[in-house]
């Protein structure tokens, strides 16, 4: 039985998207932490080692999502915690870039709640 993550760090600057994440992921007591910029996200990741999953929007101001991911894996050394990258483009090149940056899954917007939940369960289970 795949375990639902206890704490998810979501890197997203759109309040609408954040609300959507709350709606879809926040139902069963999962704790959601939001960061509006890559820099803020790195700070939070460093301070909160109990984050079990990262959901990262590629399109962030200043430091984009992939850059954040690279630094998370590299400088911060957070390599075990799974990360899902969210993008609007969905080209193969994008997917490969995400994987190279250290993503465990790649989801295209617009996603349905089912797709997001499946992706979350899949990576949380180490799939």
């Amino acid at each position: 039985m795949p375990r639902k993550p206890g704490k998810i760090l979501i890197v997203e600057d759109s309040p609408t998207m954040c609300q959507l994440y709350r709606i879809v992921l926040g139902r069963d007591g999962t704790e959601l932490v939001f960061a509006g910029t890559g820099v803020e996200a790195l700070d939070l990741a460093a301070q909160q080692p109990d984050v079990e999953l990262f959901i990262v929007d590629i399109n962030m101001p200043q430091m984009d999502g992939l850059e954040f991911l690279r630094r998370l894996r590299g400088e911060l050394g957070v390599r075990e915690t799974p990360a899902i990258v969210i993008s609007t483009e969905g080209e193969e090149a994008d997917r490969r870039a995400a994987e190279a940056a250290g993503a465990d899954a790649y989801l295209r917007k617009p996603w349905t709640p089912e797709q997001l939940l499946s992706a979350v369960e899949a990576v949380a289970a180490g799939g």
């Binding site: 309040p15 609408t16 609300q19 709606i23 879809v24 399109n59 917007k109 617009p110 709640p113 089912e114």
Partner: protein, 560 residues
């Protein structure tokens, strides 16, 4: 809602969040389109910021299932990603139409009018295509001789005119400011060593050269300022059709009249006017005009008139946005002000004070149900951004006949002649053109507990910077009651203040720089500049200072 989201999820609040965010993104689109139309191109960093806003709006709209919104935003985004060298008018027009339709759609999602608004958006696609990139020299001539003649005339006229990027003019302006700074330093230096220079016999020549430098610097400044002049018609440009569009949406009719479009202003002022004017025009259509029925009931023609008038008055430009609606509804304003907690219980403001309430922070909220144009922005935001530019915003009305907003800005925001002085141990400056007079009043009088200075027949409230800005204790004798050496009289409209000064230094042109963002926006201060000796001079804003002072005097009078 054409939803991608499944059942079982609590979507309340989501649409509000979406709408709120979208309003901000569409504001960016509006501002970018207006700038694009004014300047023929959208420079960085606005372009990148716009692309980001559009991209996010596209994603959000897609998530909520609003394909029509997503598709139009996507088309707009694509154009801005690879903008043409010259934007064809039909494309620009369509983008403006689209921006209005997007706003309509965003306001109507989740309501019964959603489908119609989305359909309207669909009709606006595809966007008019860009002409294939052809070098200007080979562009085909128009089929009729008129067009050919125009083109030839345009080419002929082009040889008398040079296109210069504004960035280059800005650079020139900075150099002009530098020249003034150097002159001031030189002047200071030779004065300090006057005796030695006289002894060396070089004084008369040096003095003359330094004065000549000042004259040339003045001419240089005038010439540089001339280069930057732009007719205000550029800012008015899109407002007539915007106003008509907005009115149509609200079931109102309006005819827009422009006056003074040829009034020339410094480009910095024109740029600064665009946003406040946009809000005032929106406000006039929303609250000023009135529906045809309301107007008929008031004995007016069903079509309202919106007048945009620009007048140069001395070193300032006055832009009026006037409607012929019903004027300010003072009862409604009073009610809203009480609801918003802006008035003390039992406080009964007079007519003029009620009118001024609309500019107070907190007067309007972002989620106003009756702001059909989708803008919850308060006039307080407009007023404070105008104040930051050393401008003023006021409202006049004739109940039943109409309302007039008067927006005032300096002709140029770049360089300001200023009077430098010392007060309370600090170096301060006041814009010279707003200084009426300086006096040596000795000891100030007291009227009802507040200090005043006699100026002709009038009693002018005294403003002690040290007390107003909190640099010294109220109990400090120097701060209240003590004799003052100089009083600088400033006036804004019908209000004035006598600013206490310990030393008057000099009058000189200064380049006013905005205070760094982390200092916030202290009232009464419009920016800072650097004195020749390197010290920081706080440049005061007469309007803000007068208000600050009046408030302080009011408090003193109320105290038992």
């Amino acid at each position: 809602m054409e939803a991608n989201l499944a059942e079982g999820f609590d979507l309340s609040g989501l649409l509000d969040e979406y709408r709120d965010e979208a309003r901000g993104q569409l504001d960016q689109l509006d501002a970018a389109l207006l700038k694009l139309e004014r300047e023929g191109t959208l420079p960085e960093p606005e372009r990148t910021a716009l692309l980001r806003a559009l991209h996010t709006l596209k994603g959000n709209s897609g998530m909520l299932g609003y394909a029509a919104i997503r598709d139009f935003v996507h088309a707009a985004e694509a154009v801005f990603r690879e903008p043409p060298a010259a934007w064809p008018q039909p494309l620009l027009d369509r983008l403006f139409e689209g921006a209005a339709a997007l706003r309509r759609a965003v306001e109507r999602v989740g309501t019964a009018d959603e489908a119609a608004a989305l359909e309207r958006l669909r009709q606006l696609l595809p966007l008019p295509s860009l002409p294939s990139e052809v070098p200007a020299a080979e562009a085909p001539a128009g089929p009729d001789t008129v067009a050919g003649g125009d083109e030839a005339a345009a080419l002929g006229a082009a040889t008398d005119v040079l296109r210069v990027p504004f960035a280059k003019l800005d650079a020139l302006m900075n150099r002009v400011g530098d020249v003034f700074g150097i002159h001031a330093a030189l002047d200071d230096l030779i004065e300090r060593h006057r005796a030695a220079l006289q002894a060396a016999g070089v004084w008369p020549e040096l003095r003359e050269r330094v004065e000549l430098l000042e004259r040339v610097a003045d001419e240089l400044r005038a010439a540089a300022l001339e280069l930057r002049l732009v007719p205000i018609g550029r800012v008015f440009g899109r407002f007539p059709s915007l106003a008509r569009e907005l009115a149509r949406e609200q079931g109102k009719q309006v005819r827009v009249v422009l006056e003074g479009e040829d009034t020339e202003l410094d480009k910095s002022t024109v740029d600064a006017l665009a946003e406040p004017l946009l809000h005032l025009v929106r406000n006039a259509v929303d609250h000023g005009l009135g529906t045809p029925d309301e107007r008929r009931a008031g004995g007016k023609p069903p079509e309202g008139t919106l007048l945009l008038r620009a007048v140069q008055a001395g070193d300032r430009v006055r832009v009026e946005v006037e409607d012929d609606g019903r004027g300010l509804d003072r009862e409604r304003i009073l009610r809203r002000a009480r609801e918003a907690g802006l008035l003390a219980p039992g406080e009964e403001p007079d007519d003029e004070e009620i009118a001024a309430l609309i500019f107070r922070p907190g007067f309007s909220t972002r989620h106003e149900a009756d702001t059909v144009s989708g803008r919850g922005i308060g006039l307080d935001v407009v007023a404070s951004s105008v104040a930051r530019l050393r401008g003023g915003l006021a409202v006049e009305d004739v109940p039943g006949r109409g309302t007039r907003f008067v927006l005032e800005l300096p002709l140029t925001l770049a360089i300001v002649p200023a009077l430098l002085f010392e007060a309370g141990g600090e170096l301060l400056a006041l814009p010279a053109l707003e200084v009426e007079e300086t006096l040596r009043p000795g000891r100030p009088d007291r009227v009802a507990g507040a200090e005043v200075v006699r100026h002709g027949d009038a009693l002018v409230p005294l403003a002690r910077p040290a007390r107003l800005f909190g640099w010294a204790d109220d109990a400090d004798a120097e701060v209240s009651g003590g004799a003052i050496r100089f009083a600088v009289i400033v006036r804004r409209g019908s209000r004035s203040a006598a600013v206490a000064a310990d030393r008057l230094l000099e009058q000189r042109d200064v380049v006013v720089k905005a205070l760094p963002a982390y200092l916030g926006q202290p009232p009464g201060v419009s920016g800072a500049t650097i004195a020749p000796d390197g010290r920081v001079v706080l440049v005061l804003d007469p309007g803000g200072l007068i208000d600050l002072n009046l408030e302080s005097h009011r408090r003193l009078r109320r105290a038992p």
